[in-house]
């Protein structure tokens, strides 16, 4: 563990190398990640805290916040169940087509958000496969909350599974097998052995899934219908405000989303710091 502290590592050319690499890395991240974030907050506060707060208190902003929370509250549990089930199947059993399944789970990462929205329009839109049937039974999917949920589930589908699969792979199944041999039933094994083993990775996956579900723009934009106060989520509200020349308002809502992103990252960092050893013990390949 302490190789880098050895005397050899502290010879000056290596120190120089280290300092240079660190500086370059920090500079890159500042330019590409921190500055855009700073812009958001700077613009939001351009007219002062009062203006920021009052533009957040508007009815449209509040309803978009509520809708975003509702969508996330449905999307995240759906993807938790899927993520756990998929990881269990992927890491505990061998079967044909596993590589294909792995690729399918990752697929939504790489589907353009525009297409992610379009596919549900093609299915549930008035001119889509199920459109006429849905219309006849007066069921709304797109341009309503179910459509927003579907599009968000699609884009956030891989997050939980991707966190869990490498971890569960690295952990192996000895613990669970032992539990079975000792007479635990399936549920006992899952809640007493598997879940405690994966909880931190699961939580991390949930945090990312949640952040993305709340922040998704492209896919949601296609299926939203943009009905103000009814089907506009926070990212859509940002765009609308921006298009109304209400820059402070746009960045106010945006800064709320950015705060959320930061909060997510802070919770994650806190967890790592607080339970660092626990996490390290279960990190992929870190047994």
């Amino acid at each position: 563990m302490n190789v880098m502290l050895r005397s050899r590592a502290s010879r000056w050319p290596q120190r120089l190398l280290r300092a240079t690499l660190t500086l370059v890395a920090v500079a890159f991240m500042l330019a590409f990640l921190l500055l855009p974030l700073a812009v958001v907050f700077a613009e939001a506060l351009a007219e002062g805290v009062q203006a920021l707060l009052s533009s957040l208190a508007r009815y449209e902003a509040l309803s978009s916040i509520r809708l975003t929370l509702i969508v996330a509250a449905i999307v995240v549990p759906l993807n938790i169940v899927f993520g756990v089930a998929a990881s269990w199947a992927m890491t505990r059993f061998e079967f044909r087509g596993k590589a294909l399944l792995g690729a399918l789970i990752d697929l939504p990462f790489s589907v353009s958000p525009v297409i992610a929205g379009l596919i549900y329009v093609l299915l549930f839109g008035a001119q889509g496969w199920f459109g006429p049937w849905l219309a006849a039974h007066d069921i709304r999917i797109i341009f309503a909350v179910p459509g927003l949920v579907l599009a968000s589930v699609f884009v956030t589908l891989p997050f939980v599974a991707r966190e869990l699969i490498p971890l569960m792979q690295a952990q192996g199944s000895e613990d669970e097998e032992a539990a079975r041999v000792l007479g635990a039933n399936g549920l006992q094994m899952f809640f007493r052995v598997t879940l405690p083993n994966i909880r931190w990775a699961l939580l991390y996956g949930v945090l990312l899934c949640n952040a993305r579900a709340m922040g998704e723009f492209g896919a949601v934009s296609v299926v939203s219908g943009h009905i103000r106060g009814l089907t506009t989520t926070m990212p859509l509200e940002v765009e609308m405000r921006y298009n109304e020349f209400d820059y402070t308002g746009a960045f106010a809502v945006a800064s709320l989303l950015a705060l959320l992103a930061l909060l997510t990252l802070a919770i994650k960092t806190l967890l790592e710091w607080r339970y660092g050893d626990d996490l390290a013990a279960h990190a992929p390949g870190g047994r």
Partner: protein
């Protein structure tokens, strides 16, 4: 041998796989089938015509070329950042580590507006670059900047665990045998990192190719120059040309899927490679 035992000892194979397949089927496969079905409306000849159009070719070239360049940049700097985060200790390291996930969490539209504000000629960075005669916003460079932003976390996050688990004894052994640092890096470290690096590269690439929300604000959207493929899809939709929009979607999807299958195989290969004993 041991695998066969898993089937008997561990429960839930049918349930978990069944649920996974059902959920994937409903949420991913069925809608994508609708896409493919819609795309089939233009036929093979229609598809070839579409792909032969200069506009389409320019857009595909920009989407894939830009994503490739952005992912290469991400591979280099992602490796660097991962290395620095794992190997070095310095003040603010945890903060930096947390920042890596920002592009996952920040809404793409917000990222697009912020990047444009930053890199436009009257923005904080754009002004400086403009003085040097370099335009970023509303050029292909701008497209690249947005693509770097969205793809960055993938490389770092796939490399980090591997770097952490890297066996330092090999490095020490190489060093005691008189190898230079550059040799150690090229011969000992890089080969072990390569699978994860490729994985991160491929994920970043796939993500950048399809990106819409953040690119659209900064691109300038000029046909033949800064028009990305997803925008072309949107334009087809505006004209109610669903089949061609879907066809372009299928083309992009096909590429992504091939990448991801390759990636999945790569992961399995790298696992076997990393644990030759088991």
């Amino acid at each position: 041998m041991a695998l066969a035992k898993h089937h008997r000892v561990l429960p839930g194979f049918g349930l978990s796989l069944g649920y996974t397949l059902a959920f994937l089927g409903l949420i991913v496969l069925l809608p994508l089938a609708a896409l493919a079905w819609k795309a089939s409306g233009i036929g093979v000849a229609g598809l070839l015509d579409l792909l032969a159009a200069p506009r389409t070719q320019a857009a595909l070239k920009l989407s894939f070329g830009g994503a490739l360049a952005a992912s290469l940049i991400n591979a280099v700097f992602g490796l660097l950042v991962a290395w620095v985060l794992v190997r070095y200790r310095f003040p603010g390291r945890r903060l930096l580590d947390a920042l890596v996930d920002l592009p996952f969490a920040l809404p793409t539209a917000v990222a697009g507006i912020a990047l444009t504000a930053l890199y436009a000629p009257n923005g904080w960075l754009g002004g400086a670059f403009d003085a040097l005669g370099v335009r970023i916003a509303y050029t292909q460079l701008g497209v690249g900047v947005a693509m770097v932003f969205v793809g960055f976390p993938f490389v770092v996050r796939t490399l980090q665990p591997v770097l952490e688990s890297l066996d330092r004894e090999m490095e020490e052994a190489a060093e005691s045998l008189g190898a230079r640092r550059s040799q150690i890096f090229a011969r000992v470290i890089l080969p072990v990192l390569l699978p994860a690096l490729l994985t991160g590269f491929a994920l970043a690439l796939a993500r950048a190719v399809g990106e819409y929300g953040s690119v659209i604000f900064i691109a300038g959207n000029m046909p033949m120059r800064t028009e990305i493929t997803p925008l072309l899809i949107v334009q087809k939709l505006e004209q109610f040309d669903y089949p061609r929009a879907a066809a372009l979607g299928v083309v992009m999807l096909g590429f992504s899927f091939v990448m991801l299958v390759a990636l999945s195989l790569l992961q399995r290969w790298s696992r076997r490679w990393a644990e030759p004993s088991s």
